[in-house]
């Protein structure tokens, strides 16, 4: 029975657990429940990914209603990769959340907090697995509403305004998406993604199809935080509790990137997106400008958390570049970077959370000499930072390699330049932190390492950064498979 319903399990489990979490007494119990669920979800998603890696496409009619009338859950290589990613990040961040959130927020409201966390997880996984365009909207809103709440739970009062503007932009984005889906439904009479993909070519030349495409792309770009629609992101990441930031940075925007890929390649088809519509001319310039400008802004920040938030916006530029190249290598590179960036940003924000746990702030000038006081925590930060820069043997290098290869294959030399310059800017902003932390004198030299309950999950992600940087079979395999199945070239 479990094998049969395995596809739905990762969504249903956290959804039910969220309701249970609310009923639990404040304290550690909600956290334990959430962590357990996260691990179960991770195990299930791994099992699913192994089946998808064999080239199998799993289809599951929700409630027994056959597609295209009912809602279909459909798992191919692209969503399998995404599910593993969400599962892995949750499995690492949820254990981390316990001590970190307790220190930052206290435990009185822990049932509600973990309920929101579980809802967020359910929404993300739902988007990943569903094969129905409207169902995507519902899950998108479930995870978004949960993340607004989570951001607002930050203890600084600016967290409230950050959450509010996140809510406004997020809702507008989701509504744009809804408009696009509505128009598509009017044109084709279906909401099933596979069905849509089959019917869109017939209506490709109508203005309604063009409008639908525009609404969906722009709506998703708001969720992705593609420059210049990224303004909600830096504040939301900065003022959310550390564990929430790690989770948001590692999975939230990635899921939206996946959706963009799914729509651009899988549903509308590369032919429509790049021949009928000039998508490359929209995505590539925005990605380039965003990548360079937000990297520069990141250099100027004096709060490390904010710096990493801007760096996230810049990194999204890499993914969008890969999408905009409209080649199957570029698409594979984008998918790889979705996965790899989640690993590095997750690790970075968790290391940051562990540092904040002791220092109490992420202001850079208060991190002087912290490398000597918390060597293992800081080492995790440095290692994840190297991965962000794209040093060989880390996942960052793998994505960069494929991106550069894709750009050279197409002869896009300026993009090669942008990619490498982006890395150099990352060297500068990560280097600043390293310099202050290791090569400046702090007030005391006393050891005050973060507790093991924070260090272990952080290091698990750090090691994953190196593991998947050296053994690329799973990630590259899935990404190439996904790129093939989505059909990269117009």
């Amino acid at each position: 029975m479990i094998a049969h319903n395995l596809v739905a399990l990762p969504v249903v489990l956290p959804l039910l657990a969220a309701a249970v979490a609310v009923l639990l007494p404040p304290g550690r119990k909600p956290w334990l429940l959430a962590t357990g669920i996260a691990w179960l979800v991770f195990a299930a998603s791994l099992a699913l990914a192994l089946r998808a890696l064999g080239g199998e496409v799993l289809s599951y009619p929700m409630g027994g209603w056959e597609p295209p009338w009912g809602i279909e859950y459909r798992l191919d290589a692209a969503n399998a990769l995404l599910m593993v990613l969400i599962g892995a990040v949750a499995a690492a961040v949820f254990p981390f959340a316990g001590p970190s959130v307790k220190r930052e927020l206290g435990e009185e409201k822990s049932p509600l907090f973990y309920a929101a966390l579980l809802l967020f997880l359910a929404g993300q996984l739902g988007i990943a697995v569903t094969g129905d365009a409207f169902n995507v909207f519902v899950f998108l809103e479930i995870s978004s509403l949960a993340s607004y709440t989570l951001v607002a739970s930050g203890k600084d009062r600016k967290a409230l305004t950050a959450a509010f503007s996140y809510l406004i932009i997020g809702t507008v984005g989701a509504t744009f998406y809804l408009i696009g889906i509505g128009l598509l439904y009017a044109l084709t009479g279906t909401l099933n993604m596979a069905d849509l993909a089959a019917r869109i070519p017939e209506v490709a030349e109508t203005r309604a199809a063009h409008t639908a495409f525009a609404f969906i792309v722009v709506g998703l770009c708001m969720k992705i935080a593609l420059f210049p629609l990224h303004l909600w992101l830096p504040n939301a990441y900065t003022y959310a509790p550390s564990a929430v930031t790690a989770l948001l940075a590692a999975s939230s925007t990635k899921v939206a990137v996946y959706l963009l890929i799914r729509f651009v390649y899988g549903i509308f088809g590369a032919d429509f997106s790049y021949r009928e519509m000039p998508l490359a001319w929209l995505l590539i310039p925005l990605a380039v400008v965003g990548l360079l400008s937000t990297s520069l802004v990141a250099i100027g920040q004096n709060k490390v958390k904010r710096m990493l938030a801007y760096s996230s916006v810049a990194q999204i530029g890499y993914m969008v570049l890969g999408i905009g190249m409209a080649s199957s290598l570029g698409l594979a590179a984008a998918l790889l970077h979705v996965f790899n960036h989640a690993l590095m940003k997750g690790a970075l924000f968790m290391a940051l959370g562990a540092l904040v746990y002791r220092v109490g702030t992420s202001r850079l000038h208060q991190w002087r000499g912290i490398g000597r006081r918390m060597p293992w925590t800081m080492a995790a930060f440095v290692a994840a930072g190297l991965s962000l820069i794209g040093v060989p043997l880390t996942v960052g290098f793998v994505s960069k390699w494929y991106l550069v290869l894709a750009a050279i294959e197409l002869g896009f030399w300026p993009i090669v330049a942008v990619i490498v310059i982006g890395s150099l800017l990352a060297v500068i902003y990560i280097g600043r932190v390293i310099e202050v932390a290791w090569f400046e004198k702090g007030e005391s030299d006393e050891r005050c390492e973060a507790p093991l309950s924070l260090l272990i999950p952080t290091w698990v992600l750090v090691i994953a950064n190196f593991w998947f940087g050296i053994d690329t079979r799973l990630t590259v395999g899935l990404a190439e498979l996904a790129a093939q199945s989505l059909g990269g070239t117009p």
Partner: protein, 118 residues
Amino acid sequence: MNLLGHYNYIVVVVLMMLGFYTVIARDNLVKKLIGLGIFQVSVFMLYISIGYVSGGSVPILTEGVTLYSNPLPHVLILTAIVVGVATLALGLALVVRIREAFGTVEEDEIRLKEDAEG
């Protein structure tokens, strides 16, 4: 093209623009939410219009009726209304908290206070 025949779509577009403009242009957070609500409602109307089949009856199986309106968009919009209500509720809750924390719901005043904190 028969403009009047498509009057419902015109209403949708007008409402959409009104709502969207309010979201962007107003500084008052509550007004922003109202704008957001109007914006969303316009989309609901778009969906409901799509479901209309000219001459179609209420989508309840009845003897002797063969042409029904499409019920699916209505069902979808029921879900979307729930989502919209939840969003609005959460937004208003945030506004209450913001008012408690900053003493105002005007965006420009809040921004001034935030900048003063640095």
